[in-house]
């Protein structure tokens, strides 16, 4: 695999972003003008990263078709972990792109601060190209103190949230930013506790969460919560030992928007089905790393800002990494 970052975009801010990612992750930036050129490189020697302007439907369609025709969507030269799309559109309006099997990561373009966003995103790319990027210390390498908490049953969730609240309060996080981080962590824990085992069993007929018997969760349902803060960025990850994350399902959930269609709670499922979309819509980055049958790590990543307005407007993305 060649150590290049192939950029398919003619936008100035994408070049700045890509330059910054390449600098942090020690990749050689190669800018191409056409999907055919990008696919040719993927065919000859798959690059570590392919970054495509996905805001143009025409460009996305041509790239997708070229990949499909020249390589095949499921060819070993097409590794979604390495394919990242930049878009101006919110994820809920990104349509085909989000549901494409070749999508690895969706990046909401940050035209105001492409260099800073590139440096931030580059840390994730850097961790991913070194190997499986499990563990926040891979992403916060040498820049932050990383703390780990073990959760052995659901009754410990409120204690963990309280501990993180104290941690953030000590770090002088403003109230609403703190609350957003806590809700995001709460959602990741819900997914790990309720959804991951259900997905692993393939069961669709669970009882309501109010009727859950905590003892049904196996003692080995160990969940690890890891926190890291480098003074600017705060990351929190939740790792379960099921490895049952389904990318297609994930990418159906995150873009959900209940402003146009009413939310209808399902009676026969444990979870609400809206947690991850709530997390994504409140800002920040989401990273999912999964080794099927072994473990899943879900990570949220926020920049602390002076105002909540800036917090809400911060750079956001969904990055997925699957290791079969």
């Amino acid at each position: 695999m060649n150590k290049s970052l192939v950029l398919l975009s003619d936008r100035k801010e994408d070049q700045i972003f890509a330059n910054s990612v390449a600098a942090v992750s020690d990749l050689n930036l190669v800018q191409v003008q056409t999907p055919q050129e990008a696919v040719k490189i993927m065919q000859d020697s798959p690059p570590k990263m392919v970054l495509v302007d996905g805001s143009s439907e025409a460009l996305f369609n041509t790239f997708h078709e070229t990949v499909s025709e020249s390589l095949g969507l499921y060819s070993e030269n097409v590794q979604p972990n390495h394919i990242h799309f930049l878009s101006d559109l919110p994820i809920s309006k990104a349509g085909l792109l989000v549901h494409s099997p070749i999508l690895g990561s969706f990046i909401k373009r940050d035209p105001e601060q492409p260099e800073e966003s590139g440096a931030h995103y580059g840390r994730i790319v850097n961790a991913a190209i070194q190997g499986k990027p499990f563990g926040l210390n891979e992403i916060f390498e040498g820049t932050a103190k990383v703390q780990k908490i073990e959760m052995r049953n659901i009754s410990q969730k409120s204690h963990i949230l309280e501990a993180v609240k104290i941690y953030l309060t000590a770090g002088k996080w403003p109230t609403r930013q703190r609350s957003t981080v806590l809700t995001a962590l709460d959602e990741l824990l819900i997914n790990a506790v309720y959804d991951a085992p259900q997905a692993a069993q393939g069961s669709q007929s669970q009882t309501s969460p109010t009727k859950i018997d905590i003892s049904q969760f196996e003692p080995e349902t160990n969940i690890a919560v890891t926190l890291a803060f480098d003074g600017t960025f705060f990351g929190v990850s939740v790792t379960d030992l099921y490895g049952s994350l389904d990318k297609a399902k994930l990418m159906r959930h995150i873009p959900k928007n209940h402003l146009k269609t009413e939310y209808k709670p399902k009676a026969n499922t444990l979870s609400a089905g809206i947690g991850l979309s709530m997390v994504y819509q409140t800002g920040g980055g989401l990273v999912f790393i999964c080794e099927p049958g072994v473990k899943t790590e879900a990570l949220v990543y926020y920049r602390r800002t002076d105002s909540f307005k800036d917090f809400r407007n911060q750079f956001r993305f969904v990055s997925t990494h699957f290791y079969f």
Binding site: R176, S179, T183, D186, E187, H258, T261, Y263, A272, I274
Partner: protein
């Protein structure tokens, strides 16, 4: 953990909620059977997670189906966020007043400002500034008005 203070003013049943709404919250037990008129006071709701939202919608949809007249007052920022994310979050209930988040440009002190929805509609997106409660600075609305007040235009 959700706490509820109950009282009654004439024919209106008042419920003052505080804490978090999550998977262990049982609104049907905490608020009881739907009454003809309910006023839900939400100033002290700090967070609501997705399973909390699910339980909320189920409970208030049941109230709606039984013809309850519901009014939500003093909605916290956490509640306003949900109102803006989910079109049917209020289940036909009326929003009487909400808290708006403010932050001082000088000392970054956070403040909340309670406004009635009818007054907000008159103000449009021209939200007032406040005097900081801790210094001589000015506190400004700390969110994106078009996002935070999106529910007004629905």
């Amino acid at each position: 953990m959700l706490q509820v203070e109950k009282s009654q003013k004439g024919s209106i049943f008042l419920f003052k909620l505080s804490g978090n709404i999550e998977e262990n919250t049982k609104l049907d037990e905490a608020l009881g059977e739907p009454k003809p008129q309910m006023e839900i006071h939400l100033k002290d709701i700090s967070r609501i997670n997705s399973i909390g939202v699910k339980g909320w919608i189920k409970y208030f949809q049941n109230c709606q189906a039984k013809g309850t007249k519901i009014t939500f007052t003093e909605c916290s920022t956490a509640i306003v966020e949900q109102i803006n994310l989910i079109s049917n979050f209020t289940c036909g209930g009326a929003i009487e007043s909400i808290y708006l988040p403010y932050s001082c440009g000088k000392c970054r002190t956070e403040q909340l400002c309670l406004l009635k929805v009818e007054d907000l509609k008159k103000l449009g997106m021209n939200l007032p500034t406040l005097k900081c409660s801790k210094c001589t600075g000015t506190a400004e609305f700390d969110d994106i008005p078009e996002d935070y007040l999106a529910f007004l235009s629905r």
